[in-house]
Assembly symmetry: C2
Homo-oligomer: 412 residues x 2
């Protein structure tokens, strides 16, 4: 038993936004660590994020066995459920009433920039109400788009999945030929799409072209890029972010989509990009119209990018666990709210620090310029150096036959 400087009360953990392959590591890290503190009466979990707070839908995580928590930690997606609710001021005030009623004085919220913004509002409201609530944001997002973080838990495992996928997709397209594009998640930031290049072994390996939201997507350049790569390599593999936009900032998915029926806008004002193959299909049609290449295909990686079991970075697992654990330390021993951030200190090691919530809340981090090539259609070696240690141990490699051609005899 350890003593925290926080008053006796309950700790609440919740998970927000899109699930990741390691978000349960953070939850379990926080729960196991919080259970060690003598001033923590119980550790509660809110079912379905902020929605569960409004509904007083809590589970008592102090009653879970350590073994089962460890099993859940290795299970992808959010074991407490999630929500896309975007709390406004009133919603946050209602939540605060529930937290007070249950004597919860520490709220740990695992999520991305939307979730950290919610936490910022609650934290401010608690202060106004004079209620001693410690609010700690635990970072999580496959998009890797939180400021003040070298990277965010969830991204390394998603990047590992994407890069392993492209190793195979490159070999598959090489064997059959033609143009093959794959749409990767990432509404605003291209980190995950860029990770398609992380598993490249030979310089002629695909992806040969990578399009990220940080650079304007022009159809004419797209056609000429493909034509050139297809001639050079005999086939062409492309990684495309779902969030690519034209020079005006309009989403290409929106511009080309014929799927008006299924397009949705969520509570955050985000247009639905995932869960549909329409961007890839539309680009296939365009490429076929404009280039004389017979076999053109598009896949959309979809939700498996963030939820696939059995393809997780062990670096990511450990860090996701640690940010959960550190969140409890900060809540118990530091007298302030904040967001846990990750700094890289070596090749490869990290340190954690607590930053003010408004450093990350509602803000977006983009790919730095040195990670994108001049043409805006590929990544640099600097990016590959950045991402490589995050992929973890046991990362697989592809091998090719060496060239031992046989002389022709008939030579027709």
């Amino acid at each position: 038993m350890i003593m925290g400087s926080l008053e006796r009360g309950k700790v609440l953990v919740a998970q927000g936004g899109g699930p990741t392959a390691v978000i349960n590591q953070s939850m379990v890290g926080a729960v196991l660590e919080a259970r060690k503190f003598s001033n923590v009466e119980f550790v509660y979990g809110a079912m379905n994020g902020v929605r569960g707070i409004i509904n007083e839908d809590f589970v008592n995580l102090s009653k879970e066995t350590t073994h089962n928590l460890e099993m859940v930690a290795n299970t992808p997606s959010s074991a407490l459920g999630s929500t896309r609710d975007k709390p406004d001021l009133k919603y946050c005030q209602e939540m605060l009433k529930v937290l007070q009623a249950h004597n919860i004085n520490c709220f740990l919220y695992i999520g991305g920039n939307d979730s950290s913004d919610t936490l910022r509002i609650i934290s401010e409201e608690a202060q106004k109400a004079g209620y001693p609530l410690r609010c700690i944001h635990i970072p999580k997002t496959i998009d890797n788009d939180l400021l003040y973080n070298d990277h965010t838990p969830g991204f390394p495992s998603a990047a590992r999945f994407v890069s392993q996928a492209f190793i195979g997709l490159n070999r598959d397209n090489w064997a059959i030929g033609g143009v093959f594009m794959t749409v990767v998640m990432g509404r605003n930031s291209g980190f995950l799409t860029a990770s398609a290049a992380a598993g490249k072994s030979l310089s002629e390996d695909g992806p040969h072209l990578i399009y990220m939201p940080e650079r304007a997507f022009k159809l004419d350049s797209f056609y000429s890029d493909i034509k050139q790569a297809h001639e050079k390599y005999g086939h062409c593999v492309i990684a495309l972010s779902e969030g690519i936009r034209d020079t005006d900032g309009t989403l290409i998915a929106e511009k080309l989509s014929y799927m008006d029926k299924i397009n949705e806008v969520d509570a955050h004002g985000n247009k639905q990009l995932s869960g549909s193959g329409s961007l890839g299909d539309a680009l296939v049609a365009k490429v076929k119209e404009n280039l004389n290449i017979k076999r053109v295909r598009a896949d959309t990686l979809g939700y498996i990018q963030r939820s696939f079991i059995g393809c997780v970075s062990d670096v990511d697992q450990r860090e996701a666990r640690e940010v959960g654990e550190k969140a409890v330390h900060y809540a118990m021993w530091d007298k302030r709210s904040g967001t846990v951030t990750i700094q890289r200190t070596g090749f490869y090691s990290v340190e954690y620090s607590l930053k003010p919530l408004d450093y990350v809340a509602g803000k977006t981090r983009y790919m730095p310029d040195e990670f994108i090539n001049d043409e805006g259609n590929n990544v640099t070696d600097a990016f590959r150096m950045y991402v490589r240690p995050l992929l973890g141990s046991g990362f697989p490699s592809a091998y090719n036959l060496r060239k031992h051609p046989v002389d022709k005899i008939l030579n027709r």
Copy 2:
């Protein structure tokens, strides 16, 4: 060095049809075994399947290092390349001329039912021409649709990928809610789509509905199935074969598709189903029209099902290696052409035997009735028992938090 009863000459290996995650195991198994025989002058590989034979595009695989071959064996997709050419009689006669010119008296062709049919024609033409050519078909297909085989190499690894994908997709959809469908490969046979159920742990886990080409797909039943499952489980995960057809046998992909521009027919008369998200997108639109459920999404697994690196069944790896090795044994010591087949002899063990080429050539194996439930919208436990040992060792499991609800206080 071993002596074969075959005359001195060369062995040719080729890979046909769609790649798999273990097709190189079969190639390497054949090459390493053939290199042990004193009557084998060289082992050649044909680049891009039958196309490479026509073009005399051969590589000398006797000159590959054993180490590199082992590395290639663990690499997904076809290291020799593939083709979708469908040889007719004339094409086969041309190939025979090339084989004779290079003194190739043993042709090992790794492929599915189309490839075995090609081999059958060449074998017959060789016999007519009085040329002593041994033709052995090495089975490969993720569709698992070869007759006289308990299962076919490539299927177990694809099944492992699909079942691991659905473990995560089920947890992801549970966390967020709504209806989520995923389109799985399999033009005529539902084995791979059915494998979506192989990783289910609790009875309430998804996929809650599975639609295979073996049963007519009716939109009305589809809607009522979803409504019922969504009410019962609070969310609904669906596995759909790309090859589902209506009562008339028309492909649903064809019936609902608005993507005429990108639809293609290959040389085998097969309509393009993969490399497009249009079936899933069309069904999402239909479900939204007909059911009052807000969040409906579809993903299409695409080519990663057959090419993903790092998610391979070790059972599949070993068997793919063995069928390559056995093919050489049959060619060297049995005085006949044929197809290597796999029989299950225990839970779990297999035996191999050589069957006449026309047993499998151009024929399709479907899911047996006992693997599909009465409603035609799910698999049976018999199927799950069938598929489980094929997935290999180290298969991951998902775990849930146990239920420890907290009493409400405000109870609004």
